[in-house]
Symmetry: C2
Subunit: 239 residues, 2 copies
Amino acid sequence: MKVTVYATYDSVEDKVIKDRLVVVVDVLRATSTIITSLANGCKEVIPVVEIEEAMNLSKNYEKDAYLLAGERNALKIEGFDLSNSPAEYTKDMVEDRTIIFTTTNGTKAIRKAEGANEIILGALINAKAVSDYILSRGEDIVFICAGTEGKFSLDDIATVGAIIYRMDDGSGQLKLDDLGLVCRHIYREYKGNLESVFKKSRHYNVLKKANYYNDILYCLKEDMISIVPEYTDGIVKIK
Amino acid sequence: MKVTVYATYDSVEDKVIKDRLVVVVDVLRATSTIITSLANGCKEVIPVVEIEEAMNLSKNYEKDAYLLAGERNALKIEGFDLSNSPAEYTKDMVEDRTIIFTTTNGTKAIRKAEGANEIILGALINAKAVSDYILSRGEDIVFICAGTEGKFSLDDIATVGAIIYRMDDGSGQLKLDDLGLVCRHIYREYKGNLESVFKKSRHYNVLKKANYYNDILYCLKEDMISIVPEYTDGIVKIK
């Protein structure tokens, strides 16, 4: 099973993802938030790139049927119902609702994966579930990290490492590309204390300064949720 | 001193390199070969992207004044004098000559750095010289790895790590970005046995299969050459 990893969505080559199973990872915080939201019973999440696109889309829904959600520069968007903090996506808040969702990097990464055969979302909170799903498919796999503003981001790299680590039964059947090897290496090395890796990333410090430290601690919790979200035809639902 | 690292030349942002000191690294083998060639007395190296461009340029030179050099798919180009193997760039062969040079990734990476204030070339064989030069300048620095066909390549990452490791006096003045941290980590971890890292990269295996294993061993020799090549106005010379 060949494993290909992209550190940023803008480096993804369409020909490589075509007809493939793709996992999109934006652990701080878009994919962690979407997974949480679906686990708490939301109907669906619609990732959109632009704020205006989100606003326009919301006009198609009844008042109580949707929530406008997301962030710019880590902060809640004016006029929106929810920020990108998974703590806000409680059952009371999201159950049976459609979440229209826009974030700086994560939603772009998801949309960039269009053209793949199948797109699923990964984070630390569902690392085992994603790994199990990939193994059940037994196909070559491509990971797309959201990265931070077009740059390599250690938090996503360690998360891909966590998924690869769970996929690896030591039989040598995993054929990791160079970046895949780095992901696994970083995770293996720090798996008792992943926060020490996250701490080194610029993104961690941006979130901490914006008073989202509790979100970071939440996003670091491994294997807490067993769902695998899938993105099809513009909508994310539980697989 | 801020350190920014790009894993591939096509991810480089022009606004980030503008007015900066940039180090281009393509350890297997373009920058190793250029450094060797200049250390052995060649007059200058002219990196060009296309084979045809190299052919046309050669028409401006006297018969014995130049050599056509480079590779495609790791192999010598038909009608060229030299391949991209540093072993061929002996003093007898290159002294006082102009080398017109084209390779798959390395020359593209060098040209991509245009727009920087100053462009120097790094490899393991001149890691200490490059590190000393950067420290003497005391400026923020950007590393551009050539990568392999647009992808993250462990050999270049470990080489940037070697240079960063030599720059770091433990005073905390180095501000590494996320990828810079990974580079230093990989180098620190494997510095007694860098071949074990190279061995994991796809690029290593391509070269080994093409019978260039001795080149790999040569490119792994750290700090053997004390020159720093500079690329200015289309030409590489000793700084």
